[in-house]
Symmetry: C2
Subunit: 527 residues, 2 copies
């Protein structure tokens, strides 16, 4: 079932003699398949095919594209247990998490399909003609969103389904009308090929042009760099490390034609616990915090890397609850040897600094199994140690005990851009809240109330994004239906007769979509 | 009234001994004011002040910001005839054009003010809570657009009002909630200071924070480069030459934190005249074309630099009408000596190539007065001469006589990104139209029907933008109300109690704005 080849549109291709293997994420044993590293020729073929496909696909109706997305979901489900088993081998993620992630992935595809069928997402703006306006008549002006062109998408290591081959970037790019050339992650190439096969089956079943999707394998930077550098690639989507994301951005910046490359990189997702919340709910917050830090062995983009609270007698009670909650937890197998050793190095670096440990899980004897650590420090020390702001990808988090709520503000204002800021507050804390929310909206893409940042809803209003370095472009979200606008641009039709307008812009509004007509949203037709 | 100093918030500043002067655009005589070139310290002061102002201004209500924009319009009008006189001296633009441009500029400010008062522009998206959803409840998620931060804006030479100090970039940035640090154009520093004075007066009259607007003078690249490189600048807007725009982009790309810099650069705005339209309306189209080419002495971004038509006996009739229309026109004074000499060089370069002249205006004896030129060539020759695709800024345009309509398609597909594509068609041409529009939407930001591209309406649906190199970011427009989204980003409030939400997101919808609630646009409140 897994061939180790690249998938260039509808055909398999393995031109290179150079191959790589993936490893069993639990045992570190090398798996048997040899994956053919995409050659420059294969990269080019995939992009040329995507370019040709774009000229057809961009004109497909919303219903047709929706059928494709829905069918991808069906084909992924049809892979059944064998898909889950393959991912467990390649990532060590547990079965329950993976069935959940599969549901999220197919749900995401279906959500974009429903968005396409409903049709209003094209953000139609119409200024009706004013032939008698003085001193000059106004032409009829009608705007809608159109797709940018072929998109390069990169797999994330931490979500082998939801942020990988058929994940959010692919779903939103295909929904926008853009073919996708996908760079698989070298730590889960097998599941990548399986899901790519599902997409190709769906494409064939729903009459999609050859090249609507291609999968490139590789364990070297060249593949991704050449993909983003290609003149026929018009946008990129990436979720991963700061260094990986910045390298892609730099490649994009060296192109003649600038293109948007959306990289979602690092974030430590501060959690603020205000005094009264700490006093009333120390146990509940401690347990929620520890669960959030340890969720998925800490390998979530929204993992809370610091918790800020102003020191008081309640702090010690809270720390006691944190210790108890930690004691109930055990370490987990990380996604790959590479991630595990990065984590170990990160933890060692913190140990070598003056950070104190609140609780460290016992050293696991098994390879790739991380020991979770919760640290503590004073606000002043945190401010003096810029290195502590750096994300340690894994189950590590610092509790910062500040001298006052004002010091919490100072620390938040010293941080770089984040995906989220979380606030725990009770009624007596409320006078602090307005200022905290103001700081939060400057700092982050999402402000969370009395909950934890892990768990990102896929919906219309979600923002999974935020100021640099959380992402390269704070104007975008990579989760939720608004993610589609990363891959579109507006175009305006001036005085074009109805017969030549796309249906979305025609007077009769044949698709019955919402349109912004002369300054109001309406589904009405235009007289 | 004109001091030659920089304007740093509410105070004038001229720290440098280095100055420059502007010249009378007709006579090339040096004008008397010495303008103080902004020092690095002054640039920094302006940006720091803007940063501080941002923390206040970002929370101002739409009504308050609207009052500021409306007042800027009033203060510009109050400058009266002296403003027009100053611009005529610095740009040689005629009075009628300038009173029109002033009306456009104040109209633009008032349009953004009305957008702010209406309030729906914040693009609110609400997913209501589903506390009983299985397997997990859904939190309340509420998204709106917030401002990015201080914006660097650059004056365009060709619109001393509408694309300069209080032009579209400034109006949309201020409307978005972003302070503006403005780099004046060295060819019209006097009018820049006058308009900046109007903005400062309006800011003071409407209680704006100091630093909401600053004006920097200079005739060296350093000022603009340092402005865009500053870490507290969060976006940039520029209209001008390809080289100027690309230099700013490169500076932005060398920053640690990437920021969006919107540069609107070069475009030759192809006009296609299909056979039947040419046959029926040769005179009308010829006259419209010549007027559009010569409008503002050809110094418009949307100036039609090429006209494409398939050769037939009607072509000669059309060319005859072009000659007649040209014969009635005279050359005009260009905006500056620099632009005039660029134009002369561009024309000379075309003369040295194998282009034929349809009509050239008689060589003017006056300095800076351009002789308009219409050229002709075959489609095959055009395809062989990539240099002919380059914009010659001024009243120059090439008529390309193709061997067939298919060759028109081929030529369009060989072009780089454009602001506009224009189609002239009559009923018998209609079978060509669908394909042309498809090509047009890939090529350009706006497709115009049986009219000419000059004249850009300021409205909701306008797109003044397009694929590279027409702009650096095809996802944006620099004209119309959608220009505001260049300077905003989304933020999501998760489960935040109503009392702490901005009014736009509160259950009762106290501002009665349009909101996208659970997948429908509504002004209703949320239960």
């Amino acid at each position: 079932m897994i061939t180790g080849k690249n998938i260039i549109g509808s055909r398999k291709s393995g031109k290179s003699n150079q191959t790589f293997s993936s490893v069993n994420a639990v045992s570190s044993e090398t798996l048997e398949t040899n994956y053919s590293i995409a050659t420059d020729e294969e990269i080019d073929e995939a992009i040329e095919l995507a370019h040709t496909a774009f000229n057809l696909y961009r004109n497909f109706s919303g219903y047709h594209k929706a059928a494709f997305l829905d069918r991808i979901a069906v084909e992924i489900e049809a892979l059944g247990e064998s898909l889950i088993q393959q991912i467990m081998i390649e990532t060590a993620l547990p079965e329950a998490r993976l069935t959940g992630e599969r549901a999220r992935t197919t749900g995401q595809l279906k959500l974009f399909a429903s968005l396409l069928r409903e049709g209003s997402w094209k953000a139609v703006r119409i200024d009706t003609a004013m032939p008698n306006r003085e001193p000059l008549p106004r032409a009829s002006l009608r705007q809608l969103q159109i797709p940018l062109g072929p998109v390069a998408v990169f797999a994330a290591s931490n979500f082998p389904l939801a942020f990988s081959v058929a994940g959010g970037d692919t779903a939103s790019a295909l929904a926008a009308g853009c073919p996708v050339v996908f760079k698989a992650h070298s730590s889960h190439p097998g599941v990548s090929e399986m899901v790519a096969g599902a997409i190709i089956k769906a494409a064939s079943a729903t009459g999609m042009p050859d090249g609507i999707f291609s999968l490139l394998q590789g364990n070297e930077h060249r593949v991704g760099q050449n993909l983003v550098a290609h003149p026929k690639i018009k946008a990129g989507g990436f979720t991963g490390s700061f260094h990986g994301g910045m390298a892609l951005l730099k490649t994009a910046q060296n192109r003649v034609e600038p293109i948007p490359v959306y990289t979602e990189m690092s974030s430590i997702n501060p959690v603020v616990v205000l005094p009264e919340a700490l006093r009333i709910n120390p146990k509940e917050i401690a347990e929620g915090y520890v669960s959030s830090v340890l969720l998925g062995v800490g390998q979530f983009c929204t993992n809370p890397g610091i918790l800020l609270t102003s020191e008081s007698p309640d702090t010690e009670i809270f720390l006691q609850h944190v210790k108890e909650a930690m004691a109930k937890q055990s370490g987990g197998n990380m996604l790959s040897q590479h991630i595990y050793s990065s984590y170990k190095n990160g933890v060692q670096k913190l140990k070598n600094s003056s950070l104190s440990i609140v609780h460290e899980g016992s050293s696991p004897t098994q390879e790739n199994v991380a020991a979770p650590v919760i640290w503590e420090c004073s606000g002043a020390d945190f401010l003096n140690q810029p290195g502590w702001q750096e994300e340690v990808f894994g189950p590590s988090s610092i509790i910062v005990k500040t001298s006052s709520v004002e010091e919490i503000y100072t620390i938040l204002q010293s941080l770089q851009g984040q995906l989220t800021l979380t606030i725990h507050a009770e009624e007596k804390d409320h006078e602090q809240v307005n200022q905290l929310i103001t700081i939060g909206t400057k700092l982050a893409g999402r402000v969370v109330w009395n909950a934890f940042p892990t768990g990102v809803e896929v919906s219309h209003a979600m923002v999974h994004g935020g100021p640099f370095p959380a992402t390269s472009d704070s104007r975008s979200t990579s989760v939720g239906t608004a993610a589609i606008f990363r891959f579109t641009r507006p175009v305006c039709y001036q005085n074009i007769p109805d017969a030549f307008l796309p249906e979305e812009l025609q007077n009769d509004n044949p698709l019955t979509i919402w349109r912004w007509v002369d300054g109001d949203w309406t589904k009405n037709l235009i007289n």
